[in-house]
Each structure stands twice: as structure tokens, then as C-alpha cells.
């Protein structure tokens, strides 16, 4: 395996196999519901950090972890037939525990507030199973965004396949959040909500969060006139 998978806890490893129900449905079903898109927002990093791995809690060789509740985010990238998507580049970015994004437009004016130990951005390329995972912090609200969220982007080759956000299921801020309220369909809303569950054996209060990514057809694949 080219990339190290975080397997700190066998419960998480088993969790990955629980997804067999999900993918089996894909073999029989007409189509899985595609993960809905949400706006990219203004803070996709303008300068990618030196460390772009899937661990946002530790930057490079630093031993000082980021502030926040540690969350293990994992899932599978599949197509609408439930087939795993290999070589999908999954990127996540989010504000740190003090509500500062890595993007210079945000972190520039907020240097003193920023958690210098939070990587702010991470990347993972799926293998043949389509699985991905990250170690990051549980997201927190940001001014103007009462719903804590993690931005997610999926690319393959030079094509962007999906840009969206995942939110915390049950968070009171979701109902007031302007971006989330734009998603009116109840099923679509459900597909963006993630449970952040305590990991029972963790002595440091780690959480696990499972976010399945189902890729629908992109504009390039639809029979449309290509833009010049």
C-alpha cells in the first residue's frame, strides 16, 4: 500500500467490513443515491501546506498535535452501482478549533487566533477498494456558518468529480445554517449528515465518523455540448 492507513483501533477496522451491506446493495440496485454537492466556499487553500497527508492533527515531524476533538473520518468512494472508485483523490479542508481556515484570506488577519499545529487540509488517494480515511478534528462552527462542517472534494486525474461538505448529524446549528438550508430535499440532507461517535476503547475521547461518497455522473459524462 502506497499510503499508510490509520488503523488505531480494531473497531474501526471492523466498521469497514460493516459496509459490505452497503456495497452489496449496489450490486443489485438500479442506482445508489449520489452524494449531493454543496458549495466549495471561499477557503479552498490558496497555498497547499507542505504536509498534505491524511493526518491533519500532526504537521510533518511535529509532536504537538492540533487542538480539538480527534476524529477518524473514513468511508468509501463508489459509483452509483456501488463499485469502488480507484485512484480517486479525496481532499478535505476545514477551519481549526479556533475557527480559522488555512487560506491566507482567513488566516492572514487571524494569525494570533490560528492553531499553528492544525494542518487544515488533507489528501488521500483511494486504492482498489475505494476506501479512504483521515485523522482530523471534529469540525466547529464558523462565523456565518452555525453548522460545523468539513469540506470534501473528490478528483480523478484532472477532473473534479464532486465538491461538497459533510455536517454533524443532530447539531443544532444545522437548522439555522444558510448553506445547508439550500438543500431542501430530505434525502439529500440526510446523505450529508455524519454521526461522530465516540470510540469505546479510546482513552483520549477519539471519535469515528463514516462518510460514504457516492459519485454521480459528472457533466463531462452527460451527453451535453462541451464548453469551449
Amino acid at each position: 500500500m502506497a499510503q499508510e492507513l490509520f488503523l488505531p483501533n480494531r473497531r474501526l477496522f471492523l466498521g469497514a467490513f460493516g459496509l459490505s451491506l452497503f456495497t452489496t446493495r449496489g450490486l443489485f440496485a438500479e442506482q445508489l443515491f449520489a452524494t449531493p454537492a454543496l458549495t466549495e466556499g471561499p477557503f479552498y487553500p490558496d497555498k497547499l501546506p507542505l504536509d498534505q497527508d491524511n493526518d491533519l492533527i500532526l504537521i510533518k515531524d511535529s509532536t504537538t498535535p492540533a487542538v480539538g476533538e480527534i476524529a477518524h473520518l473514513f468511508g468509501k468512494v463508489v459509483d452509483e452501482q456501488g463499485q469502488p472508485v480507484k485512484n480517486a483523490v479525496v481532499e478535505i479542508w476545514q477551519c481549526d478549533a479556533n475557527a480559522v481556515y488555512l487560506h491566507t484570506a482567513d488566516s492572514g488577519p487571524k494569525q494570533k487566533q490560528q492553531d499553528q499545529h492544525f494542518q487544515g487540509f488533507g489528501r488521500f488517494t483511494t486504492g482498489s477498494t475505494g476506501e479512504y480515511r483521515f485523522r482530523t478534528i471534529k469540525p466547529v462552527p464558523y462565523p456565518g456558518r452555525p453548522a460545523p462542517h468539513i469540506h470534501v472534494k473528490v478528483k480523478r486525474g484532472d477532473r473534479e468529480l464532486l465538491t461538497t461538505q459533510l455536517l454533524i448529524r443532530g447539531h443544532e446549528g444545522n437548522a439555522k445554517d444558510g448553506v445547508f438550508r439550500q438543500t431542501r430535499d430530505l434525502i439529500d440532507r440526510e446523505l450529508l449528515l455524519v454521526d461522530f461517535k465516540p470510540i469505546k476503547d479510546s482513552k483520549i475521547g477519539e471519535l469515528s465518523a463514516n462518510f460514504e461518497i457516492v459519485l454521480g455522473r459528472t457533466p463531462d459524462e452527460r451527453p451535453e455540448r462541451r464548453p469551449q
Partner: protein, 228 residues
């Protein structure tokens, strides 16, 4: 410890395999064809399409969903919320009740929501589930932040595509900020030159369709700026 992990995982794989074999390989029924006058599209649409989408999981066609039938684990929470009498099965009535209750709780479409002309409704059919957002420098999405782009474009004598394209070049203010006078003038210039209309005509039309009514300011992102 490693042996324990290995054997537990092997057990989980075996369980998954056994489950797969036990399941009779029959696809769930295809969604019913749209009745006359009823559109199949309707994400953010009506209760009929909501029910239709969920009942694609009704493998035994008894008009109800059992927990076993709902193989997409992402919808488990929705199922649990719908199962009012906790009998492990969800009826159309229970789903309809939930839909009515939760759609009402969403309230009227917020700023930037789809409603009205230029909203999602008149954009023609699109596949259910995810769709990629139209990318723009200031994160404009299909909803165009409540502006009826078709009408604005028509009044300015350009195509909606051209309008959106030129609008992408507009420099947004930071989140929660108003643009400076300098930015406002620059944006106005970009738009009037890009669209081939006079700044006065531009102001006139933009003010006419500005969500929240006319203000003294030139074209600007909706209050609160783009949402991170």
C-alpha cells in the same frame, strides 16, 4: 493481539460473504414511471418523489420498508425517525408524516434558496442525487443567491451563461464584510464591460432584482458574503 484482529476480521468477512449468499439476487423494482402531469424530478420537490425514491428499497413490494430492506446505511437515521411506532417497519403514512413535519421545519427558502424565478425549478430535469455546483470565484451556485439570473440576463440583453461567466470575475468581499468603495467600482466596471452595458443600466437592472430590495450599493454578494 494481531491474531485476534486477524481472526475477528476473517469472521466479519465470512459473515459478509454468508449474508451475500443468503440474499436472493433480485433487483429492487424500478421506480414507477411518472404519471401524467407528475414529474419524476423533484429533489426539493414533492412527497411523491420522496416516497418513490425510498420505496425503491421495498424488495418484497409490500408497500412498507423493513429495516432489512433498507440496505443503504446512510438512510438508517431517517428510517428510525420515521418509524413512529417502533415496529421495525416504516409505512408510506409514517414517511409522509415525517416528510410533512421536516419540510415544514425547514421553513421558507432562505436567502440564496431556490424559490421563485431563476430558482432550481426552471432549470429543467437533472438526475437525482448529487450534482456538481457551478464553480465561481465567489462560490455562486445554481441558486444564484436568489437572483433570477434568467430575467436579469434577459433585461441586459445577454444569455444567462454569459452573465454567470462575467459574474465569476467579480471580486467578492470577505465573509461578513461589505465591499469597499474601491471594490464596488471595480466590480461594476468588470460587469458593465464584460456584459456590454452601461454602468447605469447595470445598476438599474441589478437593483430591480436585488434580493432584499434596492440599496445604494452596486453589485455585491448577498449579505454575509460567501459562506465558508
Amino acid at each position: 493481539m494481531r491474531t485476534l484482529i486477524a481472526s475477528t476480521c476473517a469472521g466479519a468477512v465470512l459473515l459478509g460473504a454468508v449474508w451475500t449468499l443468503a440474499q436472493p439476487p433480485q433487483p429492487p423494482p424500478p421506480p414507477p414511471p411518472p404519471r401524467p402531469g407528475e414529474s419524476r424530478e423533484g429533489n426539493g420537490g414533492d412527497v411523491k418523489s420522496f416516497l418513490a425514491r425510498l420505496l425503491t428499497f421495498d424488495a418484497n413490494q409490500d408497500g412498507k420498508l423493513s429495516k432489512d430492506e433498507l440496505t443503504d446505511t446512510r438512510l438508517q437515521a431517517l428510517f428510525d425517525r420515521s418509524d413512529a411506532n417502533h415496529d421495525g417497519s416504516v409505512t408510506k403514512e409514517e414517511l409522509t408524516k415525517l416528510y410533512t413535519k421536516e419540510s415544514a421545519a425547514l421553513g421558507p427558502a432562505g436567502r440564496g434558496g431556490p424559490g421563485g424565478p431563476g430558482g432550481r425549478g426552471d432549470r429543467g430535469p437533472r438526475p437525482p442525487g448529487g450534482r456538481p455546483p457551478r464553480e465561481g470565484a465567489n462560490g455562486l451556485q445554481d441558486e444564484d443567491h436568489g437572483r433570477p439570473v434568467e430575467q436579469v440576463a434577459k433585461e441586459l440583453g445577454v444569455t444567462p451563461e454569459k452573465f454567470r461567466e462575467v459574474f465569476k470575475k467579480v471580486r467578492p468581499a470577505g465573509p461578513g464584510q461589505q465591499p469597499t468603495e474601491e471594490q464596488r467600482q471595480a466590480n461594476r466596471k468588470i460587469l458593465s464591460e464584460g456584459l456590454g452595458v452601461s454602468p447605469e443600466r447595470l445598476d438599474e437592472v441589478m437593483d430591480k432584482y436585488r434580493p432584499g430590495g434596492k440599496t445604494n450599493q452596486g453589485p455585491r454578494p448577498p449579505q454575509g458574503g460567501k459562506r465558508p
